[in-house]
Amino acid sequence: MATKQTKGRFAIDITYSLCGNCGACVAVCPESVLHLGPVMLTSENDDCTGCQRCIIICPSDALKLRKNTDGENG
C-alpha cells in the first residue's frame, strides 16, 4: 500500500476468533500500538502508521488494517 506513514492515519482491527495470543505482532510493532494483556490482544494508542508489519507476521490472518476516519489525520 503506497501511503505516507503518518501516525494516526490507520488502525488495526483484531479478529479475536483467529488470534492465538502469541504476541508476534507486538514484537514487530515500531509504535507499540499492540499489547498482549492477561486475556487478549488490545490496541493501545492511535499511533499506527500503517506499516503492516503486524499483519505480515501474524500466522493466522487475525489482523486487518483500517483507515482511520475519526482522527484528525484521517
Binding site: C22, V26, V39, P59, S60
Partner: protein
C-alpha cells in the same frame, strides 16, 4: 487510587521457563524476589513445539518424569520429491508437557522463597529522580499498583515490551521472525519416538514443518515460515495442506500461533539494573527455532547475577559474560546457518538430505557435533560453499 509501593530486591516480569528459573535462582541467592505473570494461568496460552535436548534441560534443573511427554531416539528428515534422511540418536532429547513444566518451574521459584503473582500485567517502568530504573507499574487483577525493585529481569517473552520501554531496541523486523502455527493432533499414525521434519519451498518457505510426538498417536504438528518468502499465503494454509496429505485421520485437540524470533547478535543482555532473558533477549537457536534450553540457562545465570548485584553490588555484566561464554558462539553459528538455509533451493535440500543420510546411515550416534556436520555438508556442496564461505570460514 494507586496503592503504596511495595519494595523488592528483584522483580521478574514473566513466568515462562526463563522467568521462573530466574526468580528461583534469585530467591536461592537470598534476594527478596517477586515473579509477575500477566496471564491468569501459568503455562497458558502455550506457543511452543515443546522439544528440548537432554543436556539443555539437565544443565539447569533436575528433570521430573511428569514433564516429559516423549523421549526422542530418532530424527527423520523429508525433502522435496520424496527424498529423506534419518538420524538414529538414542539420547536426542525430549518433547515436554509445557503446561506442567511451566507451572512446576514457578512452583520451584515459590518454594525457593519468591513471591508469585498471576494476572499481573506490567504496563510501564518507574524511574527515580536520578533516572535509574526503580520499579514497574503493574495491573494486578485489574487494579493499578507500583512495585519497586533494585534489579528487574525482563522475561516477558517474544513481545519484549519491557526492553523496548527501557530503550533497548529488541524490536524485530518481520524477516527476523518465523511466523508459526501448530496443532495438537490426536488419533494420528506416527512413530512415537521419532521427530519428523519436512523441508521445501512449497512445503514451508524459509522454514519447515515438524511432527513432534507426545505419545502414541498424539503429536505437536506445526509449521514455521519466513513471511517475506510467502507474501500471499499464511502459515496455517501450508499446514492444513500438509496435514491433509500426511495423515489419513486426525482430530485437532488444540490450535496455537507463534512468532519465533531470530537471534539478535547485537542485542545487549543487560542495561544498568535491567537483565533480559529467554525470548525477550532473543536467545533463540535461529536455525531450529529452539528456545527453552537458552531460556533456562539465561534465567539461571541472570537470577544468580541479580542476587549478587543486590548482595555484593556487582553489575549485570557478569550475566552477559557468563551466558555468552557458554552460548554466544553456538547462537552465532545457528544464525549463520539460518542465513544459508534461507537461500537454499529444493535441489539443495534434496542433495543435503541425501548426503546426510549417507553420512549417518543405519548406525546410531551418541552425540552430534553440529559444527562438524554443517562443515561437512558445506564442503561437499560447492554451491553452499559459495553462499556460506564468507559467513563460516
Amino acid at each position: 487510587m494507586v496503592k503504596m509501593a511495595e519494595s523488592y530486591d528483584v522483580i521478574v516480569v514473566g513466568a515462562g521457563p526463563a522467568g521462573s528459573t530466574a526468580a528461583r535462582f534469585a530467591a536461592m541467592g537470598e534476594a527478596k524476589t517477586i515473579l509477575l505473570e500477566k496471564h491468569p494461568v501459568i503455562g497458558y496460552p502455550l506457543c511452543c513445539a515443546e522439544a528440548i535436548s537432554i543436556t539443555g534441560l539437565n544443565r539447569v534443573v533436575e528433570s521430573d518424569s511428569k514433564w516429559i511427554a516423549a523421549k526422542i531416539e530418532k530424527v527423520k528428515l523429508f525433502g522435496p520429491n520424496g527424498v529423506k534422511a534419518q538420524i538414529i540418536h538414542p539420547d536426542a532429547g525430549y518433547v515436554l508437557e509445557r503446561k506442567i513444566f511451566d507451572r512446576d518451574l514457578a512452583e520451584l521459584a515459590a518454594q525457593a522463597g519468591a513471591e508469585v503473582k498471576v494476572n499481573a500485567d506490567v504496563r510501564d517502568l518507574i524511574y527515580d529522580k536520578q533516572g535509574k530504573l526503580a520499579g514497574v507499574r503493574v495491573e494486578i487483577n485489574g487494579k493499578q499498583a507500583e512495585i519497586l525493585g533494585q534489579v528487574i529481569i525482563a522475561a516477558d517473552g517474544v513481545e519484549s515490551e519491557v526492553a523496548v520501554k527501557a530503550g533497548i531496541n529488541s524490536l524485530l523486523k518481520p524477516e527476523q521472525m518465523h511466523s508459526a502455527y501448530q496443532y495438537l493432533l490426536a488419533d494420528i499414525d506416527i512413530e512415537p519416538e521419532a521427530l519428523e521434519f519436512y523441508f521445501g519451498a512449497k512445503i514451508a518457505p524459509g522454514g519447515y514443518i515438524w511432527v513432534f510426538p507426545k505419545r502414541d498417536n498424539l503429536a505437536n504438528v506445526g509449521i514455521g515460515i519466513c513471511p517475506s518468502k510467502s507474501p500471499r499465503k499464511k502459515a496455517i494454509g501450508y499446514l492444513d495442506e500438509f496435514i491433509a496429505t500426511r495423515f489419513k485421520r486426525y482430530a485437532i485437540l488444540e490450535r496455537m500461533t507463534g512468532g519465533v524470533p531470530s537471534y539478535m547478535a547485537e542485542l545487549p543482555l543487560y542495561k544498568d539494573n535491567l537483565l533480559l532473558v529467554g525470548d525477550a533477549a532473543r536467545l533463540i537457536d535461529s536455525l531450529t527455532g529452539a528456545g527453552i534450553a537458552n531460556a533456562l540457562l539465561s534465567g539461571k545465570i541472570a537470577g544468580q547475577t541479580a542476587a549478587a548485584m543486590v548482595a555484593d553490588g556487582i553489575t549485570g555484566q557478569r550475566y552477559e559474560k557468563e551466558f555468552n561464554q557458554i552460548k554466544q558462539k553456538e547462537l552465532k553459528f545457528y544464525y549463520t546457518c539460518r542465513e544459508i538455509f534461507l537461500k537454499l533451493t529444493d535441489v539443495d535440500f534434496m542433495s543435503i538430505l541425501k548426503f546426510t543420510d549417507d553420512m549417518f546411515g543405519e548406525k546410531g550416534v551418541t552425540a552430534i557435533n553440529p559444527f562438524a556436520v554443517v562443515k561437512k555438508i558445506i564442503l561437499a556442496h560447492p554451491r553452499l560453499l559459495k553462499i556460506g564461505r564468507h559467513l563460516l570460514f
